[in-house]
């Protein structure tokens, strides 16, 4: 089922299933998700909290054990790598987190934090490390001489996120997973960080998986967007096309729910009441059917497969909008 095959994929996720138990109950966090990310592209991954988008990001890095499925990075299946081989692959993939302050060790100096990946990778020469650290710190807009000796709590959230980006870039990775990198930041800082990520992407030739719950933010940076609901992919497509003509009713709902800063756009009262069901016992068939205005008997009995609805656009729906 490689419908979404892109040319030259850097990352291929195939039928990935991630489940874990909390208090004896199994959480179906990611169910049978397949995704391709082309070299040099930014794939946006959106969904509401608890839809499994962060788990998917961590499962790619093998920080979460997959139940089944493959994660092919540049042709190597990461789920089969162990120990040193996995550690070596991980250096090519980096992660940026939502809470920039929590992702920096409060007791270590910025210079050491950013140099840490180099130490782990075995760069022995301290002078070489220092040079590389200074280079990335300058690249993210921080003055190395000013920040290196300081502790994380002396910086604001936006500055800490810059430090996190510097740490992620210090090893020259090919692929960066950004897990809600701006949702903890204020509007005026958010734009700075989004611009910085775009700039870094061009400068270092990165491929990005950009995970966020805010569609407008995702659209601003992504070439393609994937929508997730309760552990399954609903829709994947080029971002402009997906926003202009969503095929899945859930995508349409998400777009409609975004508050628009324009007093003339009267908020629609058509948002269906209801909330996502629990990932412990997801609904049968299409998982969105309990909130979907178009749901019928077929939706509860048959799991919709992702299929092509428009060039490059796939949706998993029995009754797509297009």
């Amino acid at each position: 089922m490689m419908l979404q095959a892109v040319s030259d994929p850097l990352l291929k996720v195939e039928n990935l299933v991630v489940e874990y138990s909390v208090g004896g109950k199994t959480i179906h966090a990611v169910s049978d998700v397949s995704l391709d990310i082309a070299r040099g592209e930014t794939l946006g991954l959106v969904g509401e909290s608890g839809c499994g988008k962060s788990t998917l990001g961590r499962a790619v890095l093998q920080l979460r054990q997959a139940v089944s499925g493959k994660v092919l990075f540049d042709g190597h299946d990461l789920t089969e790598l162990r120990g040193e081989a996995l550690r070596r692959m991980r250096r090519r993939v980096q992660l940026i987190f939502q809470d920039p302050i929590a992702s920096l060790n409060p007791r270590r100096r910025i210079g050491d934090i950013v140099a840490e990946p180099l130490v782990i990778a075995g760069v022995k020469d301290p002078e070489e490390r220092r040079q590389r650290v200074n280079e990335v710190l300058s690249a993210v807009g921080l003055d190395p001489a000013l920040v290196s000796g300081r502790l994380p709590h002396e910086f604001s959230g936006g500055q800490c996120q810059r430090i996190c980006i510097a740490r992620a870039l210090v090893l020259n990775p090919e692929f960066v997973i950004c897990d809600e990198p701006v949702s903890a930041l204020d509007v005026s800082i958010r734009a700075q960080i989004l611009n910085l990520l775009e700039e870094m992407k061009t400068r270092y030739g990165l491929t990005l998986l950009f995970i966020a719950h805010d569609l407008a933010v995702v659209k601003a940076v992504s070439d393609r967007v994937a929508v997730m609901y309760l552990g399954r992919l609903c829709e994947v497509g080029p971002s402009e096309q997906l926003f202009a003509r969503p095929a899945h009713p859930y995508t349409a709902l998400l777009i409609e729910a975004i508050p628009v800063p324009d007093p003339d756009v009267r908020p629609t009262q058509s948002i269906p009441v209801g909330e996502p069901p629990s990932p412990i016992a997801p609904p049968s068939g299409c998982r969105f059917r309990t909130r979907c205005p178009r749901a019928d008997a077929r939706c509860s009995s048959e799991v919709p497969e992702l299929r092509l609805v428009a060039p490059g656009q796939l949706a998993a729906c029995h009754h797509p909008l297009i």
Binding site: R190, A191, P261, P263, P267, E275
Partner: protein, 328 residues
């Protein structure tokens, strides 16, 4: 100022910190008419939450408040603790950002709803219960009777916020303060909660203050908007004219920094450079001037006052306002 339900006059809040005095709210004036909705917009640390705490008289113990807060003809800072408590439950209600912390985790939802009504409305238990069921139904909670015996942790975040709204509405308040009511919620739930607040506000003809960092939240849902920056209100206007003819460069920059749905991917965002000033080290001039692209001349040395230049209800604090109609 006829019909003003709440008027905040020259309110300032000072907080002592280890780094020196922090002026959280810097001489703010606001008026909310009965049945009207005011949006207060600002980034974290701009003083919007402290301002709401000042209105509710729920400031931290160390905080110093000056100025007057007139609510329904009474000066709140001058009231006794007992009178304030009565007022807060009855005619002045609040909904917080995190419903998990505003609801008591060890009491059932029914108890939390009926207790307030029994105390403030002097209802007996049967009537209070009946009203609680009606309220839960009104805020869109399915199977309200069964919910009464549940605890907050058994509900989802959106449902908890609905319960918190039901508690706030239970005594028919004249003013509801919603402090970031949807920040902790998902987009689809946020839309539902905002719709719910708007509907209940109209039905009960109560006044409402929505505090948020998101200009999108206030755009279609308020009568008037006040934009706060570094403790001060920097622009205040009826919602349509604020969005159509904004004069304050900060408001403009804030709106421009939001990613737009209709923009093509990879469009660079006009970011506001720098970050807000340290509130313990106030600037001599306009607080926004170091980040403002129009800053010139006296901006760095003199504080602009909030004043109305052309339209009487459109106030802004800027020496170099954006020309009217420039961004229509």
């Amino acid at each position: 100022m006829s019909g003003a339900l709440l008027s905040v006059e020259d309110v300032a809040v000072d907080l002592p910190t280890p780094r020196g005095n922090l002026r959280a709210v810097d001489h703010v004036d606001l008026v909310v008419g009965a049945g009207k909705t005011l949006g207060i917009v600002g980034e974290s640390g701009c003083g919007k939450t402290m301002l709401s705490r000042a209105i509710l008289q729920l400031l931290p113990k160390k905080a110093k408040l000056s100025g007057r807060v007139m609510f329904d003809g009474q000066d709140l800072p001058a009231l006794s603790a007992e009178k304030l408590r009565k007022l807060r439950g009855r005619s002045l209600a609040v909904v917080f950002q995190d419903p998990m912390t505003s609801l008591n985790p060890v009491l059932t939802i029914g108890t939390q709803l009926t207790e307030t009504m029994q105390e403030h409305l002097e209802l007996d238990l049967a009537n209070a219960r009946q009203r609680a069921i009606e309220l839960l139904a009104a805020v869109g909670i399915p199977a309200p009777e069964q919910r009464l015996s549940q605890y907050p942790h058994q509900l989802s975040g959106g449902m908890r916020q609905r319960v918190a709204i039901a508690v706030a509405l239970s005594c028919e308040p004249k003013l509801l303060i919603a402090d970031e009511p949807t920040t902790a919620l998902d987009v689809t739930i946020q839309a539902q909660i905002l719709d719910l607040l708007a509907r209940e506000q109209q039905r009960r003809h109560m006044a409402m203050i929505i505090i948020t960092h998101d200009l999108g939240v206030v755009a279609g849902r308020t009568d008037e908007v006040a934009v706060m920056y570094a403790g001060r209100v920097v622009e205040r206007a009826p919602t349509p004219s604020l969005f159509k003819q904004m004069r304050m460069p900060y408001t403009e920059a804030l709106l421009a920094a939001l990613p737009k749905l209709d923009a093509a991917p990879h469009t660079p965002l006009p970011a506001i450079s720098g970050r807000p000033p340290d509130p313990t080290r106030p600037l001599k001039g306009c607080s926004f001037s170091p980040r403002c692209r129009y800053s010139a001349g006296r901006c760095g040395t003199e504080k602009p006052h909030l004043s109305a230049a052309e339209a009487p209800d459109h106030l802004y604090a800027c020496f170099h306002p954006i020309a009217a109609g420039a961004n229509a």
